[in-house]
Symmetry: C2
Subunit: 205 residues, 2 copies
């Protein structure tokens, strides 16, 4: 199916489907029912069936969904059949934490460079990558075919650096800065907000 | 309504409702329709109406939901009418990043202490809080009435430190370690996984 036809609501559910199905696949589970998915993921069973129907993917009565096929289908919609080249901008606490996060590589996000404005940090090596001066980023994006920039800079410089990245040709920004970035059409921004997770914890306590 | 009767599915939607309604309140918006909420949050309008009905909260035809009342109701269900005392365990990159995150304080989560196993870090002051030795944590939890521990330690020591926190009387753990913690009944764990957000970005690109 064409990715462009999927609603934002479905897109928000897709990563959760993907991670869950990925676990089932690792554990050699063959099939899963919409009721089981509903229990573990917290979406209604009818919503799940509806989502999968939309992908052109139908379960079998009494058997459920074939895990392998479902994994393949959702991977394709999520764009995970290709790898993404990423760079981190800002080698402070958040930048370093993200650089050391091992999961992303497994999902196909390849860290190619780390940049910082502070010349003192450009001798630092994080996860085998030497921090580069931010002045080099525009050329780097273009030459190394970088898809995604992970923005971990202070709020005050976020928009300015965002503009530079876009001039370099970046198409996706994973934004940890808590600033509402202004970007032209064709550039996708995904904001990270940890509040949801903390609020869920307090609700469950 | 009794919090215990709310399904996990609804609980996962609550933080999103809360943050959205909070923004409306700040911008002096009086009312909001389920259709508008659906558009901006990505849940179906009927699901939203159903959720709010469950809270015993009904909108008015042609007017929608009263933002102030909705905010109050959801705050109560989320447990945000009280403050939570929190501590951070692990003063590395993630711990420092979380300590410097300003949003949480505004939501009622008060950072009372930071602990680390490394004696070299116990001279460090982050966000006006001096890092303490982990050996002091059990007593601290009890004496200072700590509700939530934010676990930012290396994987290898995560379960051991989790056990210590529980012995100290902690009731909620916000877990950044990527380890599936084993905890007794009565202790709530919320795992942070940034993959969902990154997968959403790649899907939208």
């Amino acid at each position: 199916m064409n990715k462009k036809n999927i609603s934002m609501a479905v897109i928000r559910r897709l990563p959760k489907y993907y991670r869950y199905i990925n676990e089932l696949l690792k554990n050699n589970v063959d099939a899963v029912s919409s009721n089981k998915l509903s229990e573990d993921l917290g979406f209604t069973a009818s919503q799940i069936r509806n989502d999968f129907n939309n992908f052109g993917y139908f379960g079998r009565q009494g058997y459920g969904y074939n895990v392998k096929q479902l994994h393949k289908e959702i991977s394709m919609i999520l764009g995970l059949i290709k790898n993404y080249n990423t760079i981190i901008i800002g080698a402070g606490n958040i930048g370093q934490a993200v650089a050391n996060y091992t999961n992303f590589g497994q999902l196909g996000f390849k860290l190619k460079g780390i940049f910082d404005i502070n010349p003192k940090l450009t001798d630092l090596v994080i996860n085998d990558i030497r921090v580069r001066d931010i002045d080099l980023v525009e050329e780097f994006i273009c030459n190394k075919d970088i898809d995604i920039a992970i923005l971990c800079v202070p709020r005050a410089v976020a928009q300015k650096i965002c503009d530079t990245l876009i001039k370099g040709g970046i198409k996706g920004i994973w934004n940890f800065t808590q600033v509402d970035l202004i970007t032209p059409k064709g550039v996708t921004v995904e904001n990270v907000d940890l509040s949801d997770s903390l609020l869920t914890l307090s609700c469950l306590m």
